[in-house]
Symmetry: C2
């Protein structure tokens, strides 16, 4: 069994970005909008800001109280849409219950939608003319390619169909030549299907959901799940795959942490640099 | 073996539409744009116009010479976008080589895009907030439901991934609770996968592509392919499935002609009536 090392691949990608940015007349800049105070959101935002600093990317953080209205957030987005120094705008999810993510996200100008979540950019995922793929989905493909896993002609089983991961990952992996089996919560006899995979991608957000009975030898497993689990006062990140058991059976597996997580962050900044180049370098 | 009777189901759907339109203050109106002279396009357009007359829907046909420029077609689309009496606009495909369908289609206002082909409406297929699904895809789902085939928990194998049929059909069938295996020209060992299907949907445009070795008993087969084949001077419509051989094996099968074809036409007008209602009845 071989570990798919997301930390290592992401550092190579970071080095590429640092090189790429060197020739830019100004630093790309990302606006991050965060509503309310969630411990997990805080952690993710901090990770993004730290990575941005390492790479040489500017970030601007806008925080709103939980009580903020849709209109106030949209007003800020529209200002950022017009701001020529801002290359990308992301809205940290999830939002408090009174705000509808879809309505707000669709106010982000598609050319600055580096999370790839606007309806228009989702449409581009389908038409194949991809503008920005959601960072985690791009990260999954990038991790597999960076680990020399070929995708052409492979059977890829994707468990989960979220807009942020499962669906876009399936479309990107198909674009690379894979044949996709998209499973979800209503799928019956899941283990029969997961065992058909050459490559198994799991993104359901249920700790240790995939046990040894879902896999077979010679498979490549990518674990996208990240759940914070507290045991005896100690917090740990746990994936969707029961690593201890599954890793003994399969050919390659990405761990949590240190697998897809670091790839998500660097992929966001790849999207940002794409946005910058499309805007500034014609 | 039972025949899935698209003619019968489509007539029921037409009757529903006739009833629905009765209460409308004016007839819904569809603009059809056609470039050049293609025998197949002519046939399809005539079918649409005839069905519209049966249902009580107005159509307006705009024909352009093969030499037309992109700008001229777009200009007409923009006039139709502004025209309050026009509820839907479709562009008959394929276009002559010098015209890029994507660029032209994206000028159709999303609220009048009753073929569901604009990038924005494709995005809505992904986000699940479906505005207009491409007519053939809607027709496939409608045909299965109208034939009492349940979709929840079923394994659905879709062969083909076109924007007009394969992809949107897969997304709609998944929305109905199916688990999708999306196959395409780069899929290896296709027969292994098609045999996993409870429901097999074939949309590749290759006459008699699916033979008995791709199917097994108890399957439901939907044949979306329509190819005109000429033999000894006689033109016939041939599906993607070798009906004679496959029909002996499976539980249910849709024929060509008389299967998905009539459903496509009526589904277009269901989309048109949806467009009308969203616009006129708030």
């Amino acid at each position: 069994m071989k570990i798919i090392d997301g930390k290592k691949v992401s550092l190579l990608k970071e080095a590429e970005l640092i090189k790429r940015i060197k020739d830019f007349p100004r630093s790309p800049e990302l606006a991050i909008l965060m509503v309310g105070e969630r411990a997990d959101s805080n952690t993710y935002v901090k990770q993004k800001i730290k990575a941005a600093e390492r790479i040489g990317i500017k970030t601007r953080l806008f925080t709103f109280p939980t009580s903020v209205t849709k209109e106030e957030v949209i007003q800020e987005i529209e200002k950022l849409n017009r701001n020529k120094n801002i290359d990308g705008i992301i809205l940290q999810l999830p939002l408090p219950a009174q705000l509808t993510a879809r309505t707000i996200i669709d106010h982000i100008h598609p050319s600055k939608d580096v999370d790839g979540l606007t309806t228009l950019n989702q449409g581009k995922l389908l038409t194949g003319d991809v503008a920005f793929a959601p960072a985690t989905a791009r990260g999954v493909v990038s991790l597999l390619k960076g680990s020399n896993v070929s995708l052409v002609g492979k059977r890829v089983v994707v468990v989960g169909r979220s807009l942020l991961v499962g669906r876009p990952a399936a479309l990107l992996l198909e674009k690379e030549g894979g044949t996709i089996i998209q499973c979800h919560s209503k799928t019956r006899k899941l283990a029969e299907l997961t065992k058909l995979a050459d490559i198994l991608v799991v993104a359901v957000g249920k700790p240790k959901f995939i046990t040894e009975k879902y896999v077979k030898r010679e498979q490549v497993v990518v674990d996208v799940g990240i759940t914070v689990v507290e045991k005896k006062g100690i917090k740990r990140l746990v994936g969707d795959v029961d690593f201890e058991k599954v890793s003994k059976m399969v050919k390659m597996i990405s761990p949590v942490p240190g697998g897809v997580g670091p790839m998500t962050v660097v992929s966001l900044f790849e999207n940002l640099c794409d946005a910058y180049e499309r805007k500034e370098i014609k």
